[in-house]
Structures are given as C-alpha cells and as structure tokens.
C-alpha cells in the first residue's frame, strides 16, 4: 500500500510570533520551525499502515527551501521518499491544493494523509481541497483509521461525539490529535535521512486569490488583579464576578 503524506514546515507552537517590517508577514529570524504537529500524526499513521501492509510512504511538501528540514524530519521518522514542491511565494490554499494535486499525479498512492490543519495559518482546508482537486472522497479530523480491502473506516471528531465514516479508496484523510502517538526519529533514522535525495518539482507562479490587507496583534489583555490568597479569597472573587464583571 503506497501512501502519500502532505506536510508543512511551520513555526513551533511555543514561538512568540512577531509581525515583520512589511506588516503582512511574520519575522522568521530567531523562530524555531518544525514539522507541523498535526502532520506528525499523519506521518506516523502512514508508517504504521506501511508496517502492516507493505508499500512505500512518500512525503510531499510545498514551500521555500527550508521546507526540506521538515521533509528530513519525516524521512528520519521512517518515510521512504520525499518530494519538495519548491515555491518561495505565497499561494492561497486552493491554488496550493491544485499544485499539490498536480504533483500527486506523478506519485503512485493508494491513500493520502494530511495533518488536520497547519498551526501557522490555521485554515484546516488543504486536505479537503486536495481531495476535491483529485476527485477523491475525504474524511477530515480523524482519530482512528482502519484500512480494509478497497475501503477504509475512519472515526472523525464532531461536536460532542464521533462519526464513523466508511469510504472507498483511494481517499484523503486529515489527522486530528489522538490518532496515534508519533514516534521520535531514531539516531539511525536521522543518519539515513541525511543521505536521502529529496526530489524537487518547480511550482508554477500564480496570483493569489486571497489578498492580504493587514496583519495585527489582537487587543492585548492587561494583567488584572490578584484577588487574594487561598480559599479565603473566594468570597471576594465571587462578588467581583457577580457585581463587577457581571458574568455570574
């Protein structure tokens, strides 16, 4: 079973992101970039499927030169191959999904896994858009995946419950936290990943259909008051919530 996994190189969630001088992007110096956390679940699930059923796991990432670092992370986890769609400029997500779909056409796959969302732009749209661009079914935000002959059964998280979704294959699945516990790359894996060649595909230049007007910090909260120490402060807290904040 051949599996294609789409991954993205993003700032670490612990990073304090700052607006760059252009007012429309973030400062990237001194920011630690990592393999998108949701993509780690996608890579792990692909590796487990390969271990159970054979085949190959190919990683695909669109982005600037630095995106290769996250491809190396995925290779170190155990992926077989990596393809880098080299694009330095920004795309809207639909354009990107179509570019990835075109690249996916060159790679044999039985199913595609993506992270549920990238923790930078938080759109949570790429996987489903990719499925539509490839005319494939999709199941988003999955926490369980079982592959059977020619079909798969996935569980997806919805408000206050889970949906069990059955789909034909090939299909696109997007991984939610809870799908698995991603492995850490082994030392041997890291050494082997360094040796592997990452195939490059050029990305076509196109205008974004989404124009960025502005990037701003949300209204900052100022620290409020310390009401007091220990359980003795509770009556005053309740009074403030009731009379001042009017939320009780």
């Amino acid at each position: 079973m051949n599996i294609l996994v789409c991954v993205k190189h993003v700032p670490d969630t612990e990073a304090a992101v700052k607006i760059a001088a252009d007012g429309k992007s973030i400062q990237t110096q001194d920011v630690n970039f990592v393999l998108n956390p949701y993509d780690e679940y996608a890579v792990e699930e692909a590796l487990r499927l390969r271990e159970a059923r054979g085949g190959e796991v190919t990683l695909l990432s669109a982005g600037p030169e630095e995106a290769k670092k996250s491809l190396r992370t995925g290779l170190a986890m155990g992926a077989d191959k990596a393809v880098h769609l080299v694009c330095a400029h920004r795309h809207d997500t639909l354009t990107l999904a179509r570019a990835l779909a075109a690249a996916a056409g060159q790679i044999p796959f039985d199913l595609i896994l993506c992270g549920k969302q990238a923790v930078d732009d938080d759109e949570a749209q790429l996987g489903v858009m990719l499925a539509e661009a490839l005319s494939l079914p999709s199941v988003s935000a999955i926490v369980k995946l079982e592959v059977l002959d020619g079909k798969a059964v996935a569980r997806r998280e919805v408000e206050s419950g889970l949906e069990v979704v059955e789909t034909s294959l090939p299909a696109v699945f997007t991984a939610q936290k809870g799908l698995n516990d991603p492995r850490y790359p082994s030392l041997k894996g890291i050494m082997m990943a360094k040796q592997k060649k990452i195939e490059e595909i050029a990305c076509a230049q196109s205008d974004s259909q989404v124009e960025i007007l502005d990037l701003a910090y949300p209204k900052s909260r100022s620290g409020g008051k310390i009401v007091g120490q220990g359980a003795a402060a509770v009556p005053e807290l309740v009074r403030l919530l009731h009379e001042e904040a009017k939320v009780l």
Binding site: E123, M129, E132, E159, S160, E211, I212
Partner: protein, 322 residues
C-alpha cells in the same frame, strides 16, 4: 448585496453557530437579500424556525441520499443552491461539519474560502474578513478576489441576534440530482457523548485544568465546579499529554480555541500555546499556587493558592449563591 447562508441543522434543530452565521449574513446583506439553505432530514420541518433569524427566503433540500451529512452530498446540494441564486457571498458556520464542507465547496466552485473568520465586511465590493492565525496570536485581514466570496464563521464570534417571531420568509424546496454512487464517504454510525455534555467551543463558561491538577481523578473537582456553573471542562496540553483528559478537551494551539464569557484556569501556568487558545475569552480567572505564573499576566482576576482548596471553596460559594 445578496448573501447565502448554509443553516446547519440536525434532526430539525439548528446549531447555535448556524444562527450566528445567519446574523452575520443579515448584516452583510445590508439592505439586500439573505437566502438560507437547509439540507437533510427534517429540513422542511425546521425551515419555519429559521425565519425568525433573518433570511428573506429559505431553500430546503431533502433527498434520500442527503438524510445525514456527507461532504460530497452536501457540497452538491449547496453548489446547486449557489448556481440558482448567484449570491455575492456564501457563509457557513465553522462547526466540525462546516469546516469540512467549506473547503470542499470552495474547491468545487473554484473559489478560495476565508476560513474561521471573526469579522466580515465588504472591501471594494469584495468579501473581506479578519481571521485569527497562529491560534489567535495574530489577526490577519484578507480579501477574497473571487465571486462569490465564501467564508466559514467562527462559533461565538458573531451574535445570532434575537429571534423576531414576526418575521416571515418564503420557503421553497430545491431539487438536487444525485447519482446513486455520488457519495463515496458516508457516515455509518454516530457515537454521542453522554447527555448533557457541553461542547467546549459553544460553552458560555469553561473550567480548565492543567498540570497542577496532578491526576485524572482530581479532575472530578473541576467537573463538580463545571456542573454547578453549567460549564464545559477543558484541559491544558500538559494534562492531555499526561493522559488525564482526552485530546478533545484540549484548549490551545493544538487543541480547541475557545472564547467563552468566563474562563477559569485551574493549575494552569499559561504556556504560550495554551494562552493562544483562550485569550479571546471575555473574563479570565486564574487559580495557581505560583504567583509568578504567566497566566496571571492575562487573567482579569487571580487567586494565588492551592487548587485543591480554592476550587472546592469556589464550588460551594457558587452553590450558596444559587
């Protein structure tokens, strides 16, 4: 301007977030027309209830293949409504369903989707929106260059508006053609959480616990406080990664982003990825034994103390108040 809203319902009940999207659509339409689209089992029975929330017209779609939600089936139904109506904007509430449907619809129509927006406006005749990125660390203002402009709206970011029972809407069915094999991914079962569980992203009050709770069992203290307040229980990444709560309860950058009226953080130090998920709450209360914890820098009210003493005292005080 003409605005079309997908009004999500299940078994005849509209989702709160769908009513909020209706409210957002009413304002965005300005003096123009607002069209609601209701799909699935119970759609035509539910439609009259939607009229009070602002649509001028409501289209209902019922089909044996559309009884339950499916990405492909609902996309085809909504696409048919859009082709018929030719709206300037399409709004979908950003629920689990909406966040699945929106990108599929956008890709089907060949237009981008402004995802998870908290503000909507017109900019030179195009749909513009503000969307939180990096889990709310920054706010990005964007404009769709495409027609129609499509957006998914974040739950609780827009007021639903008070229902006006006097409002009338013209309700009409929309016929949709679906081949027997048009839907390849289908819901075969639903597992609902226990009755009375309040969804984190929809809750007015959230009580969250972190590393300071020390164990799975200790979350009972928070559950009791939550029951007293009618609140949902959340958790920090530390608590989830320790196996004390399921990931569905996680608040923060790799969990849910919440903006309740009141957020009570118990034994949570305030890591940046957690703060990202809850700083848009209206009022924040922090209970932590470390007076230097970063959570106090953003909390409106803080108590420095042991959660195992303060939380039960708070539960009792609120019970006494009621």
């Amino acid at each position: 301007m003409k605005v079309l809203v997908f009004a999500e319902q299940r078994e005849g009940e509209f989702r709160k977030a769908a009513l909020e999207a209706c409210g957002a659509g009413r304002r965005l339409a300005e003096g123009g027309e607002l069209v609601g689209v209701v799909i699935g089992r119970g759609a035509s029975a539910a439609a009259p209830k939607l009229a009070a929330y602002g649509p001028d017209r409501i289209l209902t779609v019922e089909h044996p293949q559309l009884e339950l939600y499916s990405t492909e089936g609902y996309t085809t139904a909504l696409e048919a409504a859009i082709k018929q109506e030719q709206p300037d904007a399409v709004l979908i509430a950003g629920t689990a369903t909406g966040r699945d449907l929106g990108p599929r619809l956008g890709a089907r129509l060949g237009v981008p989707v402004l995802a998870d927006v908290i503000n909507l406006s017109w900019n030179e005749g195009k749909l513009a929106a503000v969307r939180p990125i990096y889990a709310g660390k920054l706010h990005l203002s964007v404009r769709s260059q495409a027609q129609p402009g499509v957006a998914t709206t974040r739950p609780k970011a827009f007021p639903a508006g008070a229902p006006d029972p006097g409002r009338q809407a013209q309700i009409s069915p929309l016929e949709v053609e679906l081949a027997p094999d048009a839907i390849r991914a289908r819901v075969t079962q639903m597992h609902s959480e226990a009755e009375g569980t309040i969804e984190l992203t929809e809750a007015d009050i959230v009580v969250s616990g972190g590393r300071g709770l020390k164990s799975h069992e200790n979350f009972k203290l928070l559950e009791e406080l939550a029951r007293t307040l009618g609140a949902a229980v959340g958790a920090s990444r530390a608590a989830v990664d320790s196996g004390w709560r399921t990931h569905g309860d996680q608040v923060g950058q790799t969990g849910k982003v919440v903006s309740p009226t009141l957020y009570i953080a118990c034994g949570i130090s305030g890591a940046i990825q957690h703060l990202a998920g809850m700083t848009s709450s209206k009022v924040i209360v922090a209970i932590n034994k470390d007076p230097e914890a970063p959570i106090f820098k953003i909390a409106d009210y803080g108590i420095v103390g042991d959660v195992f003493e303060v939380v039960p005292a708070l539960t009792e005080a609120i019970k006494a108040m009621k």
